[in-house]
């Protein structure tokens, strides 16, 4: 499969060139955040307070790692189910978020927000946490360490493999891929 290499932060130009089904390798900074962190990020936005990182062009990785063994930057680090962040994602996109990495279905509202705000949703392979951890070279918790695996961390990734599921043109690989291979039982 041909692979598109992209770097973060993402620009609208890069996002527009991504289509459902594209294989990508991501290099640069991505931010780790899942359930509890999303609740807090949106609460800060609603209160008009600053966020722990700049959302402009940012990519969030829905992930809560296992603890790092000595000498390693991170433990196993595969994606969690993205749908639980659907309630928060449109607000974040309206404030500059350009990319989300996770796994699993997104709501109609989130998909519409990707079209309206020029953003993209990538799937990484769920359950491949040992493999994906090898593409993460640095890990620094930058907010809410008391949340443990749910804290916000700044991760540096190199050639992190993912597939474009939802693009900013309305494409949806979960629907298209499934329709292509469905057949009568």
């Amino acid at each position: 499969m041909a692979v598109k290499k992209i770097t973060t932060p993402l620009t609208d130009e890069v996002v527009r060139d991504l289509y459902a089904g594209d294989a990508v390798e991501i290099t640069g900074v991505v931010y780790q955040a899942r359930d509890a962190a999303h609740k807090r990020l949106v609460a800060l936005i609603e209160a008009g307070e600053p966020l722990p990182f700049d959302l402009k062009g940012a990519v969030i990785y829905y992930m809560g790692p296992s603890p790092a063994k000595p000498g390693r930057p991170i433990g196993s680090a595969g994606p969690t189910t993205s749908g639980r962040m659907d309630a928060y994602a449109p607000v974040l996109m309206r404030h500059g978020l350009k990319g989300m990495i996770g796994k699993g279905l997104r709501s109609a509202e989130v998909k519409q927000a990707m079209v309206d705000e020029t953003a993209v949703y990538f799937a990484a392979t769920g359950g491949a946490g040992a493999l994906l951890a090898q593409r993460i070279t640095a890990n620094e918790v930058i907010a809410w360490p008391e949340l443990g695996a749910e804290a916000v961390a700044r991760l540096e990734v190199v050639d992190f493999p993912a597939i474009v599921v939802n693009d900013c043109h309305g494409g949806d690989l979960y629907e298209e891929g499934r329709a292509k291979y469905a057949r009568e039982a």
Binding site: M1, A23, S66, K103, A123, G126, V165
Partner: protein, 284 residues
């Protein structure tokens, strides 16, 4: 009268610690081989790529002694307690929790348990309490099985209180609908445990126990074996594929177990398991 064998619960703690760590590092052979077979038959190029990643991931986890998946699960245990075993040295439940505490700490496993789930959702920070299902059996052996049950697939599981008149047509449709609605969420290719009969609590436990069967094993009741084969074919015709990205491999195995139920009832539970089907047993 048969002799009673003493077993110190400290032995159980040590065994539980080891089970937690090794179950999370070493993908069972039957699952690995099922993924290898799927890689050969999968028609979707993206699906093949995903299956390759899963096999490579299992190799890395086993070699580097790291978790297969960062979601190292709720620690679920099935205990078969021989009625001629006399447990000494402390409380069995506390001994199992201590094993979980040590295993999740020493094994660098993620702590994924929150207490007060309806409000505070505070992490207990040691992955306790464990969930323990105990059955008393004849004999003087103590068998304990650990299952590391991740949240993503568990969330897609269903309990269906059907009408007896719906029969197999209704039951099989409910299983297919459960997997279809789940789509990419539970990390396919999945393994499906189905319980039929009993009561609401018995049928869900039956579905979970069904997941302990070895992939490739054939149910001794040929009627149930045929139902399992039919469901596997129907699920794999959905097109969901590895990670839901489209393909032929949505499910590696369907395991069905049944038990008697009330004349008015047709309970059916579907326990969805991700491809990281992690469980391990030891007999003490």
């Amino acid at each position: 009268m048969s002799p009673v064998r003493e077993l110190d619960v400290g032995t159980v703690t040590e065994a539980v610690k080891d089970l937690c760590i090794t179950a999370n590092y070493d993908l069972p052979r039957d699952v690995y081989e099922a993924l290898e077979r799927a890689k050969k038959t999968e028609e979707s190029p993206v699906g093949v790529e995903v299956l390759k990643q899963l096999l490579e991931n299992a190799d890395i986890a086993a070699r580097d002694r790291v978790p297969i998946c960062q979601d190292t699960g709720l620690a679920v245990f099935f205990v078969e307690l021989g009625q001629d075993v006399n447990l000494v040295g402390g409380d069995l439940g506390a001994a199992i929790d201590e094993g979980v505490r040590r295993g999740y700490q020493e094994g660098y496993l993620r702590k994924s348990v929150v207490e007060e789930p309806a409000h505070a959702r505070r992490n207990t920070k040691d992955n306790t309490p464990a969930i323990v299902h105990t059955t008393v059996v004849p004999g003087d052996r103590f068998k304990i099985t650990m299952m590391a049950k991740g949240g993503g697939a568990e969330n897609m599981s269903t309990l269906n209180m059907l009408k007896p008149a719906q029969g197999w047509a209704g039951m099989s449709q409910a299983v297919v609908d459960t997997v279809s609605r789940a789509g990419s969420n539970p990390c396919p290719p999945v393994v499906i445990g189905v319980g039929i009969g009993g009561t609401i609590e018995a049928v869900t436990l039956l579905a979970k126990k069904a997941l302990l069967r070895e992939i490739g094993s054939v149910h001794p009741d040929s009627r149930i074996a045929a139902m399992e084969a039919e469901l596997l074919a129907r699920i794999n015709a959905l097109g969901i594929g590895p990670q839901g990205l489209g393909g032929r491999t949505t499910c590696l195995a369907v395991f069905i177990e049944e038990m008697p139920c009330h004349i008015a009832s047709m309970p059916m539970a579907v326990n969805v398991q991700c491809h990281a089907q992690r469980h391990k047993s030891v007999t003490l």
